[in-house]
Amino acid sequence: MDIETIRLGCGAGFSSDRLGPAVDLAQRGGLDYLVFECIGERTMAFGHRDRMLDPNRGYNPQLRARMLGVLAHCHANGTKIVTNMGVANPRAAALLVVDVARTLGLHGLKVACVEGDDVTHLITPETAFMDHPGTVADTGLRMVGANVYLGVEALLPALRAGADVVIAGRIADPALFLSPLVHRFGWALDDWALLGQGTLTGHLMECGMQITGGYYADPGFKDVPRLADCGFPIAEVSADGRCVITKLPDTGGCVTTGTVKEQVMYEVHDPTAYLTPDVTADFSAVAVRPVGDDRVEVSGGAGRQRPDKLKVTIGFDGGFLGEAGVSYAGPNARARAQLAADVVKERLTRINQLGGDLRVDLIGVNSLFQTAEVAPADAADIRLHVGLRSQDRGDIETMLWEVESLLCCGPAGGGGYRGQITPCVVTHSCLIGRDQVSPSFEMFTA
């Protein structure tokens, strides 16, 4: 018996993901749906900040470029687009997509804007966090916005209304992929087994190339062919939930049981309880089976009753991160770099009283694993790296100045000063009841 199959593609697994492989998928992927997953906890908060500065912004900065690249191909091939690129401003994002569609002559294209994830108004100073003790007031920080993770129920009405592009804000990542499956296969919203397997598929796809060879290569141990030309993934999903992960021929990368297994547990804690708004998914009995070149069948995802409450991420203004560095190379480099580190620490703490949130690393000797107390390596090409966080930009500028002054005032032979200041956000999570949320959509026509 022929079982209907749906082809899902992932065109982005994070906000700054590549464009070319997404265009490739739109052009020759034979896709039913192309999904762009572009929100992390931090990008969400940055979206709110952008929107505060300009009420017409707050969506993914690459939205226009991505739509210009894929929209005509998707229209020609009957591929629908589902994305969270609306970030903190789905309405402005939908209007931008309409504008791009008109520019491309795609008149009549239907763009749905899904809203209801912004729950900033529900957060009070007394709101308690879910992952650690404390309340919003306890942080002492200015809130920039709060968003609830919505599930398939938020996207289904827009899909049912015939949207060609569904653009939302905070949606649980796997739900972006699960929604088209539920819509097209008519899966029941309490068929926990199917929702669990479909959530597994979404979870595997949501990070883009992390399942086609990205974040995987380890030369001599895990070799990945043509990593520079890595393709984005495709999931071929059957009505019974079975799924084959693959990619386009003539793209770089690979889909193997190894790439799939690593992604099964990516950012997963207890494999029997992966919580989403739609299901409590269970990945503990997942099986993977190679079924051809760059083709791996994934089965065994299961599920049970969805959680009662929904997770909210609250973003706060986190001040600034300053980073500055100077390099030392050649004979006695490590001793000179260590002396530079000591000078900076002493001056910043004794003279400037900036010792609090300060860290000094010697890159090449011991930086990433400094706290892990791994034995330092001996190196003759070492970079002093100084990091400082503060609410006060002036503190950061003082630190940068101190590090730069090492050029003339520090140990012999220091060079290559660079310094930068990055605005920061802080995020915390809380839970809210489902009855406090009412997602809606609005359709725009190009």
Partner: protein, 108 residues
């Protein structure tokens, strides 16, 4: 896989991937050869991970076993020096923790 001249490390028999959520890190470790999985399971305990890096993994360490896939998933609470928002580590996501664990010798 390459034969290694050095004392055998976990890296010689397994691969790994790290992920982060808040101040919690998870590292999944997978035996290349299913025949090595029982060895991996025996030597790479949650207690050993915690004991090997006490200053870094200050919270609890849990281990989940994926016998069908020949993998172990370690979940380290309070492991990211405050998390991506507050850590001053260059790798504030703890992406490199996979190779921190793969760098351990197979036998202590």
């Amino acid at each position: 896989m390459k034969p290694s001249a050095k004392p055998a490390r976990i890296h010689d028999i397994a691969h790994a991937r790290a992920g982060d959520k808040g101040n919690t890190s998870n590292v999944s470790v997978w035996a290349y050869d299913p025949a090595d999985y029982p060895l991996l399971k025996r030597v790479l305990t949650a207690e050993r991970i915690k004991r090997s890096f006490p200053k870094l993994f200050t919270g609890s360490v849990a281990r989940y076993e994926l016998d069908a896939l020949h993998g172990l998933n370690f979940v380290m609470q309070d492991a990211l020096e405050g998390g991506v928002n507050t850590s001053l580590n260059l790798d504030s996501h703890g992406k490199s923790f996979s190779y921190l664990i793969l760098g351990l010798p197979i036998e202590e």
